[in-house]
């Protein structure tokens, strides 16, 4: 067991974890952050995307021990009472159906817009290449990212 200290959505946690424990399982099963789902086992789908020290990571591809000392933001910590502009844009553009990819898609979008606040359609499609959605055909996801960009996303 290894001792780690991780801040998740603004709250500090100290835990003993197995070195092999994935960050996503730490978040879901030890911290209780079930808003972040798991969609694959090869880091292709991106459903488990969270921000680690402000940068998007696939939490199935990070060990909990690697997150020691870091600040993790999940979909549950993104809104502050009101919906985050990216969350609102996904709702308003009908950019989700079953919603399983949505937490990862929204977290990846916040990172995309931080890097490139006004992306073109091609830049949006390339920027979200690591996040798979089976429901929407991405049409409305692209529109939502454009809408969020227009609304201006605070860094």
């Amino acid at each position: 067991m290894t001792h780690i200290t991780v801040t998740v959505d603004g709250v500090k946690y100290a835990d003993e974890v197995e070195p092999r424990l994935l960050l996503v399982h730490y978040l879901r099963e030890m911290v209780g952050k079930t808003g972040t789902p798991v969609g694959c086992d090869t880091s292709n789908c991106g459903a488990c995307t969270v921000l680690m020290d402000g940068v998007s990571v696939k939490s199935c591809s990070v060990l909990a021990v690697q997150a020691d000392g870091s600040d993790v933001t999940t979909i549950e910590g993104l809104s502050n009472g009101e919906l985050h502009p990216v969350q609102r844009a996904f709702h308003e553009e009908h950019a989700l159906q079953c919603g399983y990819c949505t937490p990862g898609m929204i977290m990846a979008t916040t990172d995309l817009l931080r890097d490139n606040p006004h992306p073109t359609e091609a830049e949006i499609r390339d920027g979200l290449e690591g996040n798979l959605c089976r429901c929407t055909g991405y049409e409305n996801i692209v529109r939502a990212v454009k809408r969020a960009a227009q609304a201006g996303v605070a860094p």
Binding site: E18, R20, L21, H25, R28, E29, K33, T34, G35, T36, P37, V38, G39, C40, D41, T42, N44, C45, A47, T74, I75, E76, L78, S79, L83, Q87, F90, H91, E92, H94, L96, Q97, C98, G99, Y100, C101, T102, P103, I106, E121, I124, R125, D126, L128, E129, G130, N131, L132, C133, R134, C135, T136, G137, Y138, E139, N140, I141, V142
Partner: protein
């Protein structure tokens, strides 16, 4: 004085934003894998690495030595109680239906079949336990090729042989249609095996409390799962509750009664604690039922002017190793619709179901109809090429004209309504058809290495999975009705219970829109409940684009009953005759005296108090209804796809895609567009990207999302969608269903475009998925490599 009460704006037809989204965009979801129960244990399965083998011995004792492992079992431990997984569609009287034990006992027949289970404190410990089990297999020859499987000397998947069934349909004189026909085109098409890949992996939780069992499952069909737990395991149905919590997509893959659901129930009973199982993606790709996998031999006969004389189809359909819930029926769903929108004199369809040592196939978005639509729309293009005719003109010459509806087709279906002319005209306008044809000719003339191709798909389909009577005639074991309950609460808020089971479709929003309009109550005042057999005990769930077409009218009927009950009470409250009351905008008023009115909310409270109900009137407005239509519904549309094919690399770029669909009356256009977008993505994915591949030993080599190419945003174009609206005449809402239309239409549109781009190279087909390598090789061989 005129009525002052403002009628609420009609909800039907409005692009209302979804009620479902609030929790989904904030992570406040309840996926099955999120469930944590006191004392809950985790299961993991050991799965066969062999496509076909005898099991000589399974030794689970090593697993029990691992820390945190509570129990481990092999198939022998379940043999007396596990029953056989159900197939609800024995399509012929002599169909071979082999036993399908949830856990293999003495023989495995596909890679991934469960042979042992470990129950442990957490999923990591369960995985450690799995790694410590020893199995002695005696490999048997795999059966991987459908055609070879039918040879007399082929190894057998089951003792009864590899032929599962042969089913035929014929109408008209097919021999006469083909003999002496000026033109006959004969083609064989491959429908590759597909893996559904809903984003949420399957997951199940089972808990016993005394005699009572609760199962939470990531399923499309909680009602069927309840019935089949009772039938397969012999557990009294009234002791069983099945809940489908938030479910992350299905596309047919969660229209199944699974081995893991049954085993979770049995394991939870054995260990006396609740258990959870959640698959990994690679486990799911191996063991969630697959889709498609057919060889289609298609022939079409026509006169010199392009009039179709007849179509004949011979199909080989891969069942996989066992029959699952509707495995053998999937090809039949295509059989009746294959003649599509065309008139002809004769039609025959013969299907042979074949067992192989692969994962069973079953319904995947469109189920039978994408295959049929591909066959007819591809061969229509080939016929056009043979005749030297513009493919759109060939279609116009043969399609059912809008004034000819209702029309009974050679496939035996009666299409109630449609307007192929209108949808096609709109699509060609949006597409810029003539301009693209000119550009295509110009690029071909100058020998451009990047060729333009135009693909057409003028599809129709049969959906709204219902008419119970017709399903019975087709030997399907279940019915097709749907149920709704409307409850008006004391404060006037409304609960709608539906027997459908959404997993992304937005029923909570759409059913609220319907109830708001029917009852004249605010959209916000309606809550929609579903997917829990204790809350919604009656229902037949969600698949086959049936929810709105069958469940929607059930809701309308339940609302009408509520209003009828309320009318009696309103008449008493207003001291008027029922006949003098009119109901509008949520109020009963006396004709000619709009001031004298009682709202549905006032009536609901009066019913709750029940102080002065008329004699013999029950103290409830709540009402149940079921709906069972007399016919399927028939969405149709015209899809046009322009591709640019790089003839030096074989790379296909979709330049534009226009979909004009007619799904009847639209309740929520935003949701309908979303369904079309997602459907298109899956149809395009079959054409260009996806294929479930087994190697020569029967190992699935596309078990991960690294190897099975589910397209990303970067792999797909932006879509242009529009609609025509020809209401269905077979239900009071005029709706047809939209869940599968995009997928059904898109695949042939894309492949037709690719072949169209390359026809001058002698290309008449490219096998799917049309990867750059396949396209390039086909060009090089100048044919159909």
């Amino acid at each position: 004085m005129t009525a002052t009460a403002e009628a609420p704006a009609p909800q039907i037809g409005q692009a209302r934003l979804r009620k479902e989204d609030a929790k989904l965009v904030t992570g406040q979801t309840n996926w099955t894998d999120n469930i944590k129960l006191p004392g809950m244990l985790h299961m993991a399965f050991l799965r066969s690495p062999y496509a076909h083998a005898k099991i000589n011995r399974v030794d689970v004792s090593g697993a029990l030595q691992q820390p945190g492992v509570i129990a481990a079992y092999s198939g022998a431990d379940f043999a007396a109680e596990q029953g056989s997984l159900p197939c609800a569609w024995p399509v012929t009287p002599d169909i071979v239906m082999p036993p399908h034990p949830p856990m293999a006992v003495d023989e495995v027949r596909y890679v991934g079949e469960a042979v042992a289970v470990v129950v442990a404190r957490d999923r990591y410990a369960a995985a450690d336990g799995i790694a410590s089990i020893e199995v002695d297999y005696e490999p048997l020859p795999p059966v991987l090729d459908m055609r070879a499987a039918l040879a007399a000397d082929s190894p057998k998947v089951h003792d009864a042989g590899n032929k599962c069934y042969e089913w035929t349909f014929a109408n008209g004189d097919v021999d006469a249609a083909f003999s002496g026909a000026p033109v006959v085109v004969d083609r064989t098409y491959r429908q590759q095996r597909l893996i559904p890949c809903a984003m949420e992996p399957r997951s199940v939780v089972a808990q016993w409390i005394g005699e009572d069992l609760t199962v939470w499952s990531a399923t499309q069909i909680p009602h069927f799962v309840r019935v089949f737990i009772a039938l397969v395991l012999g557990i009294p149905e009234h002791n069983i509750r099945v809940v489908a919590p938030d479910v992350g997509g299905g596309f047919g893959s969660k229209l199944q009664v699974t081995a893991e659901e049954m085993l979770a129930v049995l394991v939870a009973r054995k260990v006396g604690r609740p258990v959870k199982w959640t698959e990994s993606r690679s486990e799911g790709n191996m063991t969630v039922h697959h889709g498609r996998d057919q060889w289609q031999h298609v022939k079409i006969a026509a006169d010199a002017d392009g009039r179709i004389r007849g179509v004949s189809v011979e199909l080989l359909a891969d069942m996989g190793a066992y029959l699952m819930i509707i495995t053998p029926g999937v090809p039949l769903l295509g059989a009746f619709i294959l003649p599509a929108i065309y008139k002809m004199d004769a039609y025959s369809f013969q299907c042979t179901g074949v067992f192989t040592t692969k994962m069973p196939t079953d319904a995947y978005r469109g189920a039978g109809r994408p295959e049929a639509t591909f066959a007819i729309e591809r061969i229509m293009d080939e016929l056009a090429a043979e005749l030297g005719m513009e493919p759109l003109e060939l279609r116009q010459r043969n399609w059912i004209k809008h004034e000819e509806f209702p029309y009974t087709t050679i496939g035996g279906l009666t299409y109630d309504s449609g307007n192929y002319e209108a949808a096609t005209q709109r699509a060609t306008e949006l597409f810029g058809y003539e301009a693209l044809r000119s550009e295509q000719a110009e690029r071909k003339a100058r020998g451009d290495k990047v060729r333009l191709g135009i693909g057409i798909s003028t599809y129709t389909e049969a959906c709204g999975w219902a008419p119970s009577r017709i399903l019975g005639q087709l030997s399907y074991a279940g019915g097709g009705w749907e149920a709704a309950t409307v409850r008006v609460l004391p404060t006037g808020k409304v609960e709608v219970v539906t027997g459908t089971s959404p997993h992304g479709q937005g029923h909570e929003t759409v059913w609220s829109q319907i109830a708001a309009d029917q009852l004249g109550v605010p959209f916000e005042d309606v809550r929609v409940l579903h997917s829990d057999t204790q809350i919604a005990p009656k229902g037949l769930d969600t698949y086959g684009s049936r929810s709105i077409a069958v469940g929607g009218p059930a809701l309308v009927a339940a609302c009408d009953k509520v209003i009828a009950k309320a009318r009696v009470i309103a008449a008493a409250m207003l001291e008027a005759s029922e006949d003098d009351l009119e109901y509008s905008a949520g109020k009963f008023s006396i004709r000619g005296d709009p001031e004298a009115a009682k709202s549905i909310q006032e009536i609901a409270f009066a019913v709750f108090a029940a102080h002065s109900l008329p004699d013999g009137v029950e103290a409830t407005l709540d009402s149940d209804a079921t709906f069972d239509p007399e016919n399927f519904s028939y969405p149709h549309g015209t899809h046009l796809c322009a591709v640019e094919v790089d003839t030096e690399t074989g790379f296909v770029h979709i330049r534009s895609y226009v979909a004009v669909d007619d799904v009847g009356k639209v309740i929520n256009p935003m949701i309908v567009d979303g369904q079309v977008h997602g459907g298109l993505a899956q149809g395009i994915a079959q054409a260009l990207y996806e294929e479930g591949v087994y190697d020569e030993s029967g190992n699935l080599v596309t078990a991960t999302l690294a190897d099975y190419l589910v397209p990303s945003a970067a792999d797909l174009p932006s879509f242009v969608t529009d609609r025509t609206e020809t209401p269905a005449t077979t239900n009071p809402l005029g709706v047809k269903g939209v869940g599968e239309a995009g997928t059904i239409a898109a695949t042939p549109a894309v492949v037709n475009a690719i072949v169209d781009a390359l026809r001058s190279f002698g290309v008449t087909d490219v096998e799917m998925p049309c990867t750059p390598e396949r396209v390039w090789r086909t060009i090089q061989s100048g044919g159909t490599a």
